[in-house]
């Protein structure tokens, strides 16, 4: 059987790799949530109003995907630094739930509303739900360390 020795993980055996991974995590988090927030602002009628929400989704999507891939990769690395600690952390489980919901929501309902170009009130709801989900995700991340 494979035995995973935590002390053999480079993240746990030098001073700089853990904070550096976290910097990647936070910066790419800002990239993917920030680009989604730009679309949300547009749905709320603010920000880049000269473009339609559908155009903005097309323009920002590669950057959201790039952000997601870095944030998830660095997140998995951070998870390996102390898996049991995270698995026992209630805010972490909550965060993973929100992440799953957020990604599902972003690529289904949110996208549908943004691409439909509808002017109904639902676009405000879609943007509000998206902003609330991602903000809650950031809050739960902080509480992982403070619980």
């Amino acid at each position: 059987m494979l035995i995973y020795d935590l002390n053999a993980n480079p993240l746990n055996s030098n001073e700089w790799s853990f904070p550096l991974t976290e910097c990647f995590h936070v910066a790419s988090m800002a990239l993917c949530i920030g680009t989604i927030a730009i679309v949300d602002l547009r749905l709320l009628g603010a920000g880049l109003t000269n473009r339609t929400p559908a155009q903005l989704v097309r323009n920002t999507d590669p950057w959201s995907i790039a952000g997601f891939s870095i944030v998830i990769t660095s997140g998995l690395l951070i998870f390996t630094s102390d898996p049991l600690k995270y698995l026992h952390s209630a805010p972490f489980k909550f965060k993973m739930g929100l992440l799953l919901l957020g990604i599902l929501y972003n690529y289904t309902l949110h996208r549908k509303v943004a691409q439909s170009g509808s002017e109904s009130g639902w676009r405000y709801v879609a943007a509000g739900v998206s902003l609330a989900l991602w903000t809650a995700l950031v809050f739960s991340s902080i509480f992982v360390a403070f619980w």
Binding site: M1, L2, I3, Y4, D5, L6, N7, N12, S13, F18, P19, L20, C23, V26, A27, M29, A30, L31, I33, G34, T35, I36, A37, I38, A46, G47, L48, T49, N50, R51, Q55, N59, T60, W63, S81, D82, P83, L84, K85, Y86, L87, H88, S89, A90, K93, M96, G97, L100, L101, L104, L131, W134, T135, V138, F139, S141, I142, F143, A145, F146
Partner: protein
């Protein structure tokens, strides 16, 4: 009053003490700080990516800059007060922290960047040469990523603690006490948690990585875990039991 004394005074004001000692308000302010970075940091990124010609290519530069500017300021006025609150709560430990000082210098660098490029690159009638615009965008990205990284690194600095040791038996009784720097060697998550907790911890205490606080008393925490066990474990501890039927 020296700067150190100003920091010390700030930390001991009533509100800074209350913030430092609150189990809820401190992480909430930190979460607001980070949420604002996430929501509004994207506007800085997109503006600079547009200057580099990498994103939003269909919109003119001046328009992207102008329409995103109010949101950049909104983020700035949320991020900075939260940051000031966070630094005030632990001002005494922030004062000697080199990462905190570098962060302040980089923030000053953002001001200097604005002096140089604000009118020519980010202005309403900017006619900057693409090379100059690209230079401005790269510098801005580097400054903000540096500020973000230094912000994260602040939590990992520990002022080397000086402890006095009694002279060893062989040395002369008049030999001066030696000052020895002691560094905390704990790692990763444990280190972050320690940096975040306000209680001072004893320097040399051994810390075992991999022992969760929430594990039931009496239950032995395994030091190692099979990689193959991670998947079933995460399934065991997942929280989607109630969520899945709703989604499905």
């Amino acid at each position: 009053m020296s700067i150190a004394e100003v920091f010390h005074w700030t930390q001991n004001t009533g509100w800074a003490t209350a913030l430092r000692e609150s189990d809820v308000v401190y992480p909430v302010v930190l979460s607001l700080h980070l949420s604002a970075i996430a929501l509004f940091g994207g506007t800085i990124l997109l503006t600079n990516l547009r200057l580099l010609g990498l994103a939003l290519k269909a919109s003119p530069v001046a328009e992207v800059v102008r329409q995103l500017r109010p949101w950049k300021w909104a983020g700035f006025f949320l991020i900075v007060p939260c940051g000031v609150l966070l630094a005030s709560a632990k001002a005494d430990t922030y004062y000697p922290n080199p990462y905190f000082r570098i962060k302040l210098f980089l923030l000053a660098g953002v001001g200097i960047h604005a002096l140089f490029f604000r009118r020519s690159v980010y202005g309403p009638t900017a006619a900057a040469a693409p090379a100059r615009a690209k230079l401005a965008a790269c510098l801005s990205l580097a400054l903000w990523l540096g500020i973000l990284s230094m912000g994260r690194w602040i939590a990992y600095y520990e002022k080397p603690k000086t402890v006095t040791t009694t002279p060893s038996a062989g040395s002369s009784p008049t030999a001066p006490l030696r000052l020895v720097a002691v560094k905390d060697r704990s790692r990763g998550f444990a280190r972050q948690r320690r940096a975040n907790t306000r209680a001072p911890h004893d320097v040399g205490a051994p810390h075992q990585v991999g022992t969760p606080d929430h594990i039931r008393p009496g239950a032995a925490a395994p030091e190692t875990i099979g990689v193959a066990m991670l998947v079933p474990l995460s399934l065991k501890y997942h929280m989607f039991v109630g969520v899945f039927p709703v989604v499905a």
